[in-house]
Symmetry: C2
Subunit: 189 residues, 2 copies
């Protein structure tokens, strides 16, 4: 795992996706596992930490999430932007994307969903709050975060410290078509 | 209005918030109007263009949205980051925030919700898709976009062209506590 990872207090967990980064959604059930890119996620509450993420109901990720009742959310740094785009452009139904792309993962601390070992600056585990209507009508899945960790070079004590000195650790924000903006050039209002 | 605004095809409208910018939610009903900052929004579908946004059910914005059945979404550029933080830190129940902050607005083209004249790089109008349970349990409101416009210096033909040459036109992404990252330093994967 990223040796800079430190546990994040649950009250601070929603802040990890507060600024709209593209994330990787990981799932596992039995012997199967998967990951996909998701540009569409957001917090919906700080305490308890709850989030929403859009997962197309026809995907393998949706199938594993529904079967297991849980998801992982890993926040990639800019260093792995190409990988994020690659895993967002294929289905994991017929092959294991972790193996195909040489992605190392370990089980998260509470639920055991896959957390990426390298290239991510934060990971969360979420227990699904099943909402059949929202899932069906809007592909919108809700989850309560039960564990989180972040790279203490960019998130510590509940606060972001985004620096242009570490561009590889900046979050990426999908503009469409494989084009990502990085979050940097901080403004303090 | 921003003289660089051009209409955006509805099929491209969801892409305007694809990368997770902090937005301004505008509302109007009868003689009352309001605007608030919302860090938490996301698209949920491209066609038809549908979005979700978190609006605390106890806010004046929620009251006007529920009464009118519609919202505006304006995407601020970095030039007005301080204003975004200011209008996100007060309630409009007792005063008109537009007047207090000297914000000019004009009615959007289809629904007539307020669109900011200055400092924003895109605006959308959304007709609410009322979901009482999601609104109550998660403060999550869904809407279908019925009109959109964007500054053609940064969004044209359905594509973003984010440039570090125009930092004032970059979107802002709230890290917490009045700290915003700007979306720039584009990576093409």
């Amino acid at each position: 795992m990223n040796p800079h990872f430190r546990p994040v207090a649950l009250d601070h967990a929603s802040r990890l996706i507060n600024h709209g980064p593209t994330v990787l959604v990981t799932t596992a059930h039995g012997a199967r596992r998967n990951l996909m890119a998701a540009a569409w996620s957001m917090p919906v509450e700080f305490t308890p930490p709850r989030i929403a993420v859009v997962i197309d109901k026809h995907t393998f990720t949706a199938e594993l999430a529904a079967a297991s009742g849980m998801i992982g959310i890993c926040i990639p740094g800019a260093a792995i932007a190409a990988l994020v785009h690659a895993v967002g452009s294929e289905s994991g139904r017929d092959h294991d994307k972790f193996e195909r792309h040489g992605i190392a993962a370990r089980p998260g601390p509470v639920l055991g969903v896959p957390w990426l070992e390298d290239g991510c600056i934060a990971c969360l585990e979420g227990r699904l709050l099943r909402e059949p209507h929202a899932e069906d009508a809007y592909d919108t899945w809700f989850a309560e975060v039960v564990a989180a960790a972040a790279d203490d070079r960019v998130f510590s004590g509940g606060r972001w410290s985004v620096s242009d000195d570490h561009p590889e650790l900046q979050t990426i924000h999908h503009l469409g078509g494989g084009l990502f903006a990085r979050a940097g050039n901080v403004i303090r209002t």
